[in-house]
């Protein structure tokens, strides 16, 4: 039998560059699941939305019932009348009416005061800590989701994770490549024609082996993604016209198109509000909330919401006191949101304690790795000892 390299080249040349999936490639369990089988087994899926820049949690899910909030936040405090109240203490920022409605339907939980010991106020380091699930003085080369994919994916599975972004996510980085990064699924397949898809060498140069692997993955992944988005091209969708909305729409189509992908990842930036926070933050929260609401409604209408867990986090919260540039500096603990996946629709953990701060920041009460451990255990049915997360107690997030 010809080797794979020759076969791909022949298929590509014979068809004038149009790529068909060669038979023997199709025989390898690449992970594409046919839509026909969908009803038999809808697998659990995690969607991660990373809010980059350090979202001001205190002005997102607001302890308006605590007078200290108004004393400390002063000109940045959101007026009591405007707040979308959840109970006597907590309520949503007025532009987050979409998220408020999701919560009213018991499909969204908030875990309060999430962080980690010895927090780092650097964007990069703190994001890295969240992505790798390390201690604050520990440096890991793989991401928490990458390690999960290493364990859960078949050797040849290449789109166990899909990252829609123009930056690769370290969270999905594992020892093997089980995830793919792309910016626009619709263009991906068209662009791939005629790429050099040589493999099979034992490259002495690591960089070369790395680039080769990327091109093979792109080729194989693009075929599956193309099929999934073609299947769903006539599906009705109603997403807001901004990047997060578009990305969530793509994710929904890939899920409905029957990809066997377990993790979808996307980031949403612009939360580093050192100056003139009010307007910028309002706009960001509106986009986040609109995007999530559209995703929620879409998944719910398709009966997918209970199998798809969406996790929304940021690398840190912000300083409780404003900084006098009408903004806030880097802080520590902040709330994390979980949507779908049969979450209990509750507020977990204590209300933010504004009387006992740590260097002007909220103290953390729940370690973010407890949330990771809970998702691995309750959703992916993996023992949290995996990846060293068993030292964190799991939380009562899901039914």
């Amino acid at each position: 039998m010809r080797n794979r390299r020759e076969f791909i080249k022949i298929a590509a040349t014979a068809l004038g560059g149009y790529i068909l999936i060669p038979q023997f490639l199709a025989a390898i369990p690449l992970g594409a699941k046919e839509l026909e089988n969908e009803s038999e087994d809808i697998h659990e899926i995690l969607v991660v939305i990373q809010l980059s820049g350090g979202n001001d949690g205190l002005n997102s899910f607001i302890p308006y019932g605590n007078p200290l909030y108004y004393d400390i936040r002063k000109n940045l405090a959101i007026g009591k009348d405007e707040i979308l109240k959840v109970n006597d203490m907590m309520g949503w920022h007025p532009s987050m009416y979409g998220i408020n409605e999701i919560m009213q339907q018991s499909n969204l939980s908030v875990i309060q005061n999430v962080g980690y010991p010895n927090p780092d106020r650097s964007h990069f380091r703190s994001m890295e800590i969240w992505q790798t699930a390390s201690d604050s003085n520990e440096y890991l080369n793989s991401g928490w989701l990458g390690r999960y994919l290493d364990a859960a994916c078949h050797k040849n599975e290449i789109i166990g994770g899909v990252n829609i972004d123009n930056i690769d996510s370290p969270a999905l980085q594992g020892n093997s490549l089980h995830s793919i990064s792309l910016q626009n699924p619709a263009l991906f397949e068209r662009q791939i024609k005629g790429m050099d898809l040589t493999e099979n060498q034992k490259d002495r140069n690591d960089n070369l082996a790395f680039v080769r692997k990327l091109s093979i993955n792109a080729f194989e992944g693009s075929d599956q993604i193309k099929k999934a988005i073609e299947k769903t091209k006539n599906y009705k969708s109603d997403y807001p016209d901004h990047q997060l909305g578009k990305n969530l729409n793509w994710i929904s189509r890939m899920i409905k198109g029957g990809l066997n992908t377990k993790i979808y990842y996307t980031s949403f930036g612009g939360f580093d509000t050192h100056a003139n926070q009010i307007g910028i933050h309002k706009n960001k929260l509106l986009q986040l909330s609109q995007g999530l609401k559209a995703f929620h409604d879409d998944l719910k209408a398709s009966n997918l919401l209970s199998n798809i867990t969406t996790l929304v986090f940021s690398e840190f919260g912000r300083r409780v006191s404003p900084n006098n540039s009408n903004g806030t500096d880097h802080g520590k603990a902040a709330p994390v949101f979980v949507m779908g996946g049969k979450n209990r629709g509750k507020i977990l953990g204590d209300y933010p304690d504004l009387a006992n701060l740590n260097e002007g920041d909220l103290k953390f009460k729940a370690d973010f790795r407890s949330i990771y451990a809970t998702i691995l255990q309750d959703k992916f049915k993996i023992h949290p000892s995996f990846g060293g997360l068993n030292k964190f107690e799991t939380l009562n997030i899901f039914n």
Binding site: I192, K193, N207, H274
Partner: protein, 460 residues
Amino acid sequence: MKAESIYSLRIGFSNKHSGLISSKGIKSYILYLFDNPLLVQKPEFILSSEEAERAGKEFGGLSENEKELKRQEDREKFHKLQNWWLQKMYTSENPLQERMTLFWHNHFVSSYQKVKISSYMFYQNNLFREYAFGNIKKLTTEILYNNAMLIYLDNKQNKVGRPNENLSRELLELFTLGIGNYTETDISEGARALAGLAPGRNEADYIPANKDNGDKIYLNKKGNLNATDLVDAIFSHPRAPYRITEKLLKYFLTDEPDSNLINEYAQFLKKSDYELKPFLLKLFTDKNFLSYNGQKIKDPLTFILQTFNELNICDIPFNPTMNFLKNQNMELLNPPNVKGWDGGRTWLDSGKLVARAAVINNIFNKTFGNKLNMDETQMIKPGMGAACLAPKLNLETRNGSSKNIIQELSDRMLFEVDSNLEEDMENVLKYDFDLSAPNANESILKLGKIIMKTPQYQIL
């Protein structure tokens, strides 16, 4: 790959100077570049310092509509500025000067998205150009007095009693010592020392009323410290040369420099009092320099400029090129965050690799830009004939046998060639290839296209 190509691609952005390097020898070539820095004139669309200052003052009094118009006007200038720099990098006779300008841009990061004043971005860019072969310590001081930087890192809002820590934090975390070598107290004390430093006409200056004149303790130095004192304190710290050395080695030599190499060069940098010339000369004449062939992932800018240069594209189509760089996460003067581009393997993932292949297709099909939803008229500039966009590969070899041509093109474009690739290339340019045949050029172009889509072409 030939030595002169390895040097030329790393010192500049293409093979443009490989002939010069080969005739002068690397050491004289570098010394020649040091001796011939190019002076840059302010482009006509950039405001003078006085005009910029006046425009800034007037801006506050405008209505929202007028403000939006001004912003739009400035965005257009910004695109001109990006284009201006791109052309400079492509055509400059001192490519190392532009390479170093790019290095500083990615070290002392500011982005237009936040600064919003194209003239300030230009003056910062030119400061980097001026310090391309200059003194690192002096540049660090200069950057604290740089208008664009003070806006980018919110120091405008940093005032006595009302600190904003952004600039103070990045000064230590990203610009100099790096995490682990300072405390949170150093950051808040640093912010006090920087309080009141605000944009001014030519460069920033302290506004006396906003300055904090109390004593500060910063990296064990005590007194009524100001920005210059902070830089002095930083550069007396034993860790001062390491971070910048590691970045320079990564930039020019290898994505993964080992710690011995970093130590050696860091000590050298300190000994040469943070002067760049001796450092760069040592680096490029290092006897092991060529052994790092293949140790870098090619950045998108080198990828595209090298490609244009190989294909003799005489004027760069701006919009599609900038769109490509944006999609590859390397938009000039607009990096994603204060850390800048990480480089190395972050330059590539499957999506970006695919986009690179697509761009090569488009350039060869003369449709570069179309596929990225650009208006075709935008890619043709006045006075720019179709010939400027028609790809053409120059050959030096007089003996036009297929083997020689393959050899020549691989020598200047591919860091290494294995038997599979050799076979692929020989299938495109067969042994009986005849340079005088009517379709000879197309065959050579076909070979070029194959080469530029290989994994090897993504590596330096």
